[in-house]
Subunit: 125 residues, 2 copies
DNA sequence: CACTTATTACTAATTACTTAGTATTAAACC
DNA sequence: GGTTTAATACTAAGTAATTAGTAATAAGTG
């Protein structure tokens, strides 16, 4: 009965990210990518990928003796879902409040602030 | 070794929200607010509030035989933290991508989109 | 003063995510 | 064909969050 604010854990997100950017990937390939940042056991990555497949975030096909994984869900879908959830649970239904929290955050660089402004300006009404 | 995308769970966030809006609150008062939406045991709310106090999100003072809780951390701080985390873990450091995911989300009403646009337009460069 | 009531403290069960070890299976090599 | 190698399957332990029951404590009430 865990109720997380998010549908996925951090490692799951990390793995998903690598699969997205690789297109198709074996456990070993994903592990290599993760190893660029931190150490992790092969079996750990395998377990996470199996779990993600169980949850339908990944699909796979057998090639020789190993499985080749690919994404079953697109990044946009996961991101939308996550942002929706956050707006609901943390910002009580106000997307504006989220943006406010974002742009008021002093960690944003001027560059980033400008990018965001440009993006919105170019958005059609 | 749990690694959540967020520092708080859903119920914890819910309780925190009520304490913020009430200013000061007893367990019973927070529980009443939650009961407006769903059923929950008195002891459950108590446990969550005790945990939040342990994590320094709430502070309390004794009044008679009960504790009166108040927020030790402001909503903005929690929200900033959460948004930062999300940008880091899900949007790989790009706040722009978050905004993009947000405004492209078809669940947003035109009204909300407009509000966001106005807010950003009024932002200083 | 005994009894009801309100409150907190303690305990525990459940679920989810993370992490990784051990076992098994199957291919590949000598 | 037996042995090494690489992969997956199975198992399990740890931590966090949720949920709530039971025990203990203390205050007020007749």
């Amino acid at each position: 009965m865990k109720k997380s604010l998010t549908p996925l854990g951090e490692t799951e997100m990390e793995v998903l990210h690598h699969v997205w950017s690789l297109g198709e990937a074996s456990v070993a390939e994903v592990r290599e990518k993760i190893l660029e940042n931190r150490k992790v056991a092969y079996t750990t990555v395998m377990t996470v990928m199996k779990n993600l497949a169980d949850k339908k975030y990944l699909k796979y096909r057998k090639e020789g003796l190993s499985y080749i994984y690919s994404a079953a869900i697109q990044p946009e879908d996961v991101r939308y879902n996550l942002v929706d959830r956050l707006i609901d649970k943390v910002f009580h239904g106000s997307p504006k409040d989220l943006v406010q929290a974002l742009v008021q955050n002093e960690k944003l660089t001027d560059e980033e602030r400008k990018e965001i402004k440009n993006m919105i300006d170019n958005m059609e009404d």
